[in-house]
């Protein structure tokens, strides 16, 4: 693939986005949308056609492309819509389609947590804040949105910067992959990793062993010190003690007994990144405290006195112009 083609696709997509952002009238909007979608489609085509896809993966690929269109289109709407509330709702769509892609990429746990956390929690917070900080329609006047929502800020420059970034990145990455184009999904490695994860979960391991052979009483280390020996057919041999047997014997576990995504993520979280997990907790706590401190009403008695002297009423909510001026 020649990078130039990729650059052209990026340019078309960029032009569409720029036109959409410029808001120069509804007659362009359709054309701009088509242009943008075409550009994005071209980019996806280039990406897909770079890599020979086996027939077995055509189904997921199709779904993926569908999700991609939904996701990108709603992302574009997030940044082009005049009404902040709609932006937030389009963002929900981005999140949901994103979650679908996660599922396609076999990351079910994260997909669901994404929906719960983003769509359920964060976006709701955004909506609350939008309500809190939204001016009443009377202030806005004629149009359906305030000026700063309607008029984009130097869209051309921003779009150029963004798409130059994607062009150089994509251009370099996808143009090189051309000659080395083959699937690098390393099934062996995944299996090994899975078994290794399982070996770190003794209880689950014992459970899986019992599922294979109910007489197993304990799983012990093998003679070479490892818990599990992975076979070429993706099965694994472990050393177990059975009821009534003095010496440990081998037991073969079928690949179907590998742990699922959720347990593996959980395992990784607590076994491999425990400190990060703790830190994340602290960050959340701090964020909570910070939010409380920041969003608290910034009024005090002195402030009220000052306002009283100025002939103004008591502070009802924090937003008072005199205060703003005083702070400048």
């Amino acid at each position: 693939m020649v990078p130039t083609i990729f650059y052209a696709a990026c340019a078309i997509a960029a032009a569409g986005l720029a036109l959409l952002l410029m808001q120069s009238g509804s007659k362009f909007r359709t054309g701009a949308t088509i242009l943008g979608l075409a550009g994005i489609a071209w980019i996806l085509v280039i990406v897909v056609q770079t890599i020979p896809t086996p027939a077995s993966e055509m189904g997921p690929l199709g779904l993926m492309i569908l999700c991609a269109f939904v996701s990108v289109a709603s992302a574009v709407r997030v940044i082009t819509h005049h009404r902040p509330v709609f932006c937030a709702l389009y963002f929900v769509l981005v999140v949901v389609s994103g979650a679908a892609i996660y599922v396609l990429l076999s990351a079910e746990f994260v997909a669901f947590s994404l929906v719960i956390v983003y769509a359920g929690a964060i976006l709701i917070t955004y909506l609350f804040v939008l309500m809190l900080a939204q001016q009443s329609p009377a202030d806005i006047g004629s149009a359906d949105a305030v000026d700063y929502d309607r008029i984009a800020r130097e869209p051309a420059g921003a779009v150029i910067a963004g798409f130059v970034l994607i062009a150089v990145l994509g251009g370099s990455v996808f143009s090189v992959s051309e000659q080395k184009a083959e699937s690098i999904l390393d099934q062996n490695r995944a299996i090994r990793q899975g078994w290794s994860d399982l070996s770190m979960m003794p209880k689950l391991l014992l459970e899986q062993a019992r599922r294979t052979d109910s007489t197993v009483t304990a799983v012990v280390a093998r003679t070479d010190g490892q818990m599990i020996a992975v076979q070429t057919d993706h099965s694994a041999i472990i050393s177990v003690e059975r009821a009534g047997q003095m010496t440990p014997t081998d037991l073969t576990l079928a690949p179907s007994l590998l742990p699922d995504n959720t347990s593996r993520v959980g395992m990784a979280l607590v076994k491999r990144f425990p400190v990060s997990l703790e830190l994340a907790g602290i960050i959340l706590l701090m964020a909570m405290l910070g939010a409380v401190v920041l969003a608290r009403k910034q009024t005090d008695i002195a402030d009220d006195d000052r306002r009283a002297l100025a002939g103004l009423g008591k502070v009802i909510d924090g937003s008072q112009s005199s205060q703003g001026k005083a702070n400048r």
Binding site: R153, E154, G157, A158, A161, G162, V164, L165, V168, L169, G171, S172, S175, V176
Partner: protein, 712 residues
Amino acid sequence: MTQLTSIPQAIIAPELSWIGLAMLLPLLAAVACALCCALRVKGKAAAIITILALGASFGIIVKAYFAYTGPVQVPIFQWLTFQWGTSQFQSFTANCGMYIDTLTLYWMLFVTGLGTLISIYASEYMEGDCGAGFSRFFFGICIFLFSMSTLVLGDNLIMLYLGWEGVGLASYLLIGYDYARPAAVAAGKKAFIMNRIGDLGLALGIFMLWANYGTLQYSELFAAMNNGGQTLVDWDLSVIPFLLMLGAFGKSAQIPLFTWLPDAMEGPTPVSALIHAATMVTAGVFLIARMYPFFELHPQALATVAWVGGLTALLAATIGMAQYDIKRVFAYSTISQLGYMFLGLGVGTTFGACYHTLTHAFFKALLFLTAGAVMHGFAGQLDLRKLSGLRQLPGWRIVSWTMFVGCLWLSAFPYTAAFFSKDAILLQALTSVRADFRFLGWLGLFTAALTAYYTFRVWFRVCAGPLHFEPGAEVHHEPNDAHDTHGKPASASVAKSTHAFHPHAPRWAINGVLLILALGALVVGVPAYNNTFAHKDNWVQQMIAGSSAMEGAGLAEDHGSQASEEHPTVLGMDAHTGLTVVGCTASIGGILVAWYLHLRSRKSADQLRAALLRRWWIRWVPICMENKWYVDEIYHACFRLPMWLGSQILAFGDRHFLDGVMVDGLAKIPIAVGKLFKPLYGGALQGYAATMAGGIALVVAWLSWIWLRGFN
């Protein structure tokens, strides 16, 4: 010049280190005086300590004189010594040690002797400052004596340099003793700086000697000269005498560097007597006498010394004739007499020079001390027009008559000691084979007449004639009185206070010292009588002959052998006789003129001056003489002013060009570049973000370009 006879080799005699006490005692006394100063001692403790220490060191020198058998080198301790290789050149040796030969002893005798006497004098003279600067004054005297002893006794040129600068320091501190007077401070500064110019010459000369001979020890240097002047480097040796000479000219106030000495009279009179007349200024003579062999490295070196000396003598005498301040007259006479000494050294009679140094030390100290007594008694009055007939004043007889003695000696009255010493110099000049030296001899004779005139001008004015005096405003508090009133009539206010003023006559310490000095001035003539009447080597000649200056000692046998070949003549007579006649004429003639103009009819002096000033073709003579030939002004215009202007320009350039344009200008480049990109950082949040995004895009583009290039 004949080739050198061998300088006696010094032997190392550590057992003589007790002579070092002559250096150490003044130093200890200086420390004690500093303590007195710090403790604010009210009494005369400092003076007593000083007198005792100096007296003791005089005693030590006398003892050393009697114990003297031959040149010795006395190591004391290692001072500035290190080496970095094995050969002689690869070391630098300047130890604290002494080189004692007759020249050393000769010098030390009168330095410590006069130092003691003048300290006694000062203990009375300075008593007004008891509790204030008294201890500081004696601290300076002690430092001076220490430095002078080091200069003379030291066994190498670095020790000499130490003393050389040390006496400069003492001179600086003592001239600026009365530090509240700007004139005194300026004079001290001037003295130090002008001496520094000479010192640079001396230092370079020392380097040159070191580079060439690999040593700075006198004994080794003389040994090298005895061995035919073997050198390590074949550099041009002939600059050595000129460099050393520069140092000597600075210290002894010779022509290019003489202007500091008259100004140095701002110091207290004992200082003028001790440092600026008797001892320190003769250090230049000592240096040349000590390093005499090296002055023959260039054929014109000694001639230069002679010319400088002769011209200085004349110039200073002409200035001295026109001064009204007694101390200034004596200061110029000092320069003039030093000129004679250099003339003597230059024409080849170290004997004459050293002898004149000795006689001059006595009579000039005497003269200064009498001037000091007058100043002390008349509240700082030194203008010779405002004092008259002091010899009639009760209590001032000793001062008057000792001054008379000093004046006789200074004017080289026949058969005084100074007559002989000057005679020795002029004789050598007049009988020289070189025409220019003979010319210098006649010039010296003319100068002698001028000297007699201006000397007795002072005496006839101040001590003779009708009694009349006006007190000065106390010089210690009023800076401008005594020194800057030349040519102005006495102010009415001063005249008014005359009635109430009672000059306080000097007491025993001043009178005693004056008498001793007058006696000394008589005594130093004894060797000359010995020489003149017995026709054999006198004491001074013997002293000189035993040292490095033996070349010009003029011993009788040399003299005799020379005489047998061709006896030089002066005015067709035998040289001795002729010179005696001419010298007497000059001296007595000068005195008679002074007698007429300044005692017999004082008006005629003013008339003469007025007559000279009326005639345009001659008026420059008195004007220039009174204004010291404008030497200070010329120096100011030629050196100080251009340098000062240059400095201002440099300072301005440093601040505004080098720092302002170059450095700050360079610093402005990044500022300008920053201004270029300033719009990107206008404060709006997205501006920063856009810049960042663009930057990332650029960096990624660059990286991927590199990456792609690496793979294709």
